[in-house]
C-alpha cells in the first residue's frame, strides 16, 4: 500500500519518564509573565515559535501592533442570574488562572484597557448558554475575558469569533469547586483575520471543565488552551476541531499541567486540511508532576489531509515525574483521504462528492457529538459541509 503519511508532516511525539530533563514549561524562551517586556521579540527559531509564520502576525509579536479602537465589538448575552461586568486593569480577579506564556499573550495582558467578567454565582445551574460574540471590525485589539463559575454552579459558555480583526487576547476560566463548565470557542473568522489567544483554565476541586475549540476561519489562528488544577478530583476534557483551507495557518498548542493528585484529563483534536499551503499545527503537552499521584490522562490528535499541498505538524509530549498514576497515553496520526473508502462508497452508487462528505462527516462525527449543544452541532456540520462544497467546486 501507498505511504499514508503526507510528505509535509511531522508527528514527532515523545514520552519522557522521570529523568533530569527540563520540564515542558522550561523549554520555552522566557518564563511566564504578565509583562510583555519580560519576553524577547521572537525571531522564529524558538521552540514555541518555530511553526508560526511571524510575518503574518501583523506585529502582535514585536510591539508594532497598536490598538486602534476599531478592533472588535464584544456582546454578551447571558441568562438571568449571571453577572456581566466591564472592569479596569486593576480588578483583582484578573490574571488568576495563569500568567501569559508567550510574548503575544503578555502583549495582550499589558495592552488591554477594559476586561469583561462573566460570573455565575455558586450553586446556580444555567439552562441556557451564555453567548459571547466577538465580532472583528477590521482593526487591532487586545482583549481580556474572565469567566468565573462559582462552586457547584453549572454553565455552558459559547465564545463566537467572526469578522475581520488583528486580535491578541487572554481568556480565563475560573471553575469553582464541584462546578461544571463547558466552553465552546468558535473561530469562524473572515479569511483575513489574525487571532492569537491564551485560554487558561483553573479547575477547582472535583470540578469539571470541558473545552471545545472549533477553528474554521482566519488567515492565522494560534491558540493556547491550558489547564491547571486548583485541587484534587478535577477533570478536564479538551476537544478541538479544525478545518484548514488553502493558505491558512491554524495552530493549537495545549498544555495540561497535572500538579495535583487524582485529576483527569482527556484531549482529542481532529482536523481536516485541504488546499495549497494549508498548515495545521497541534502541540499537546501533558505534564504529570511528582505530586500528581493518581493522574489519568490521554491525548489524541488526528488529521485528515484531503488534497496535496497541505502540511500538518503534530507533536504530542507527555512528561511523567511519578509512576503512581492510573494511566497516561497519547496518539497522533495524520493520513491522506482514503481512496479505498471512496471506492467502496462509490461502488454502491454514491457520487464522489457525496462520498467525500460522508467520510469527512464520519471523521468528525464522534467529536461533534461531544459538544452536547444541538444547535451548535448542526451549525458545525453545516459549516463542515460548506467547506467541503468549496473544495469540490
Amino acid at each position: 500500500m501507498a505511504d499514508n503519511t503526507p510528505a509535509g508532516s511531522t508527528t514527532d511525539g515523545a514520552i519522557q519518564v522521570g529523568g533530569p530533563q527540563q520540564p515542558i514549561d522550561a523549554r520555552v524562551s522566557a518564563p511566564a509573565s504578565y509583562d510583555v517586556a519580560d519576553f524577547p521579540v521572537p525571531h522564529g527559531r524558538e521552540e514555541e515559535w518555530r511553526f508560526t509564520p511571524l510575518e503574518r502576525l501583523r506585529g502582535l509579536h514585536d510591539g508594532t501592533a497598536v490598538a486602534d479602537g476599531a478592533g472588535v465589538k464584544v456582546e454578551v448575552t447571558a441568562p438571568e442570574g449571571v453577572t456581566v461586568e466591564t472592569v479596569g486593569r486593576d480588578d483583582a480577579r484578573l490574571g488568576k488562572a495563569g500568567k501569559p506564556v508567550d510574548r503575544v499573550a503578555a502583549q495582550a495582558f499589558s495592552s488591554f484597557e477594559k476586561a469583561s467578567i462573566v460570573s455565575v454565582p455558586k450553586d446556580t445551574v444555567l439552562t441556557e448558554p451564555v453567548r459571547i460574540s466577538v465580532h472583528g471590525e477590521g482593526g487591532v485589539a487586545f482583549g481580556h475575558q474572565v469567566i468565573e463559575i462559582g462552586a457547584f454552579a453549572e454553565a455552558v459558555v459559547v465564545l463566537d469569533h467572526t469578522g475581520d480583526a488583528t486580535l491578541a487576547a487572554n481568556v480565563e476560566y475560573l471553575v469553582g469547586d464541584g462546578a461544571k463548565l463547558t466552553v465552546v470557542s468558535v473561530q469562524d473568522w473572515d479569511p483575513t483575520a489574525v487571532h492569537a489567544a491564551q485560554h487558561s483554565a483553573l479547575v477547582g476541586r472535583d470540578a469539571s471543565f470541558k473545552s471545545v475549540i472549533v477553528t474554521f476561519g482566519g488567515d492565522l489562528v494560534r491558540l493556547h488552551p491550558r489547564v491547571v488544577y486548583a485541587g484534587p478530583g478535577g477533570e478536564a476534557e479538551l476537544y478541538g476541531l479544525y478545518f484548514t483551507d488553502q493558505g491558512q495557518h491554524q495552530e493549537h498548542r495545549l498544555l495540561v499541567d497535572h500538579d495535583t493528585p487524582h485529576c483527569r484529563s482527556n484531549v482529542a483534536y481532529k482536523g481536516a486540511l485541504q488546499g495549497k499551503d494549508a498548515h495545521a499545527v497541534w502541540i499537546g503537552d501533558v505534564l504529570i508532576r511528582a505530586a500528581a499521584e493518581g493522574t489519568d490522562t490521554y491525548e489524541l490528535n488526528r488529521n485528515l489531509v484531503l488534497t496535496d499541498g497541505a502540511r500538518v505538524d503534530s507533536v504530542p509530549n507527555l512528561e511523567i515525574e511519578t509512576g503512581e498514576i492510573v494511566g497516561a497515553g497519547h496518539a497522533s496520526a495524520t493520513g491522506r483521504f482514503d481512496d479505498e473508502q471512496l471506492f467502496y462508497l462509490m461502488a454502491r452508487g454514491i457520487p464522489a462528492d457525496e462520498a467525500r462528505r460522508l467520510v469527512v462527516r464520519g471523521f468528525f462525527a464522534e467529536l461533534v457529538q461531544q459538544i452536547g449543544i444541538p444547535d451548535l452541532e448542526e451549525r458545525l456540520i453545516a459549516k463542515i459541509e460548506a467547506e467541503l462544497e468549496a473544495a469540490v467546486a
Binding site: 471506492f343 461502488a347 452508487g349 454514491i350 457525496e354 460522508l358 464520519g362
Partner: protein
C-alpha cells in the same frame, strides 16, 4: 434481458518496474438469471477481473470492451457503474469510521434507486433483510465494517446485494474466511437474489465449497489472466478432484 458482455479484456497494474499485464484477453457473457462461477488459483487474475469491472482506479484497461445492455461500462465512473446495475461484493470490505450502516445503506439505496426510499417501508425492508441474514438489529447502528468479524463483513455485503437489487452481481471470494454456518446463511442470501431471476451472478472463488450451496450454470477456469476452460457444473467436480495444477502449468507456458 440484462446482459454483461466482456470482450478481449486486457488490464494492467502499475508495478515497480512499469506496467504489468494481469488480464490477457478475457471473453465472457453473463445474462440475467445465469450464474457463472469463475475458479482459479491464487494470482490468476480473478479479483482483478472483479475490481476492473467495478472500476477500481488501480487497474488500467489496456484493451477490449465491457458493455451492459450495449452501454460502454468502461466509460462509466465507479458510481455510474453501480447505478447502471453492476454490484461488487468485496473480498475485503473497507471500514468507514463514523458512518453508520443504516446511514450508508440509505444513502446507497437513494443513489441507486434515484430517490430516497420512503422511511417507513425502508426501515421494514432493512429489518427483514437483516433478519433473513441472521444479523442483530444493533448492527445497523455500528460504523460500516468497523470491528466487523469476517462473517459480519460478508453478511453486510450480501445485505447490500439484497437491498440494491443489481442486474449483475460480482461476488469476489464471498466464501473466504467463513465458517460453515455463515457460509450457508450467506449462500442462502445469494440464492434468494438469484431466485428472482433478475440478476446475473459472477461468482469468483478459489474453492469448490460454496458451489455446494450455490449451483452454477457455468464454470470457467481462470489461469494467467484469462479463461482457459469453460463447462457446466461438472467442471467444478473435476477441479475438486484434480486441483488447478494442470491449468497452472498450461498458463505459464502458454
Amino acid at each position: 434481458m440484462a446482459t454483461l458482455e466482456i470482450h478481449d479484456l486486457h488490464v494492467s497494474v502499475e508495478a515497480e518496474n512499469g506496467p504489468r499485464e494481469i488480464l490477457r484477453g478475457v471473453d465472457l457473457t453473463v445474462k440475467q438469471g445465469e450464474t457463472h462461477a469463475i475458479m482459479g488459483p491464487n494470482g490468476s487474475g480473478k479479483s482483478t477481473l472483479a475490481y476492473s469491472l467495478a472500476g477500481h482506479p488501480k487497474y488500467t484497461i489496456t484493451g477490449g470492451t465491457v458493455t451492459l445492455d450495449g452501454e460502454d461500462v468502461l466509460e462509466m465512473s465507479v458510481d455510474e457503474r453501480a447505478r447502471a446495475g453492476v454490484f461488487l461484493a468485496m473480498q475485503y470490505p473497507v471500514e468507514v469510521p463514523g458512518v453508520s450502516v443504516s446511514n450508508f445503506l440509505r444513502t446507497s439505496a437513494t443513489a441507486i434507486r434515484g430517490e430516497a426510499p420512503k422511511l417507513r417501508t425502508w426501515v421494514k425492508e432493512v429489518k427483514e433483510a437483516m433478519e433473513r441474514l441472521h444479523m442483530d438489529p444493533a448492527f445497523a447502528e455500528r460504523n460500516v465494517n468497523e470491528g466487523f468479524s469476517g462473517g459480519e463483513k460478508k453478511r453486510h455485503e450480501i445485505l447490500q446485494l439484497e437491498l440494491l437489487k443489481p442486474k449483475i452481481a460480482i461476488l469476489d471470494e464471498t466464501d473466504s474466511g467463513l465458517d460453515v454456518d455463515a457460509l450457508r446463511q450467506v449462500s442462502e442470501g445469494v440464492n434468494r437474489v438469484r431466485d428472482t431471476g433478475e440478476v446475473g451472478t459472477l461468482l469468483i472463488t478459489h474453492y469448490t465449497r460454496i458451489l455446494r450451496y450455490i449451483k452454477p450454470d457455468f464454470v470457467h477456469v481462470f489461469s494467467a489472466g484469462r479463461i482457459v476452460e469453460s463447462g457446466g457444473a461438472e467442471l467444478a467436480d473435476k477441479l475438486e478432484n484434480e486441483g488447478y495444477e494442470a491449468y497452472v502449468k498450461g498458463g505459464v507456458t502458454a
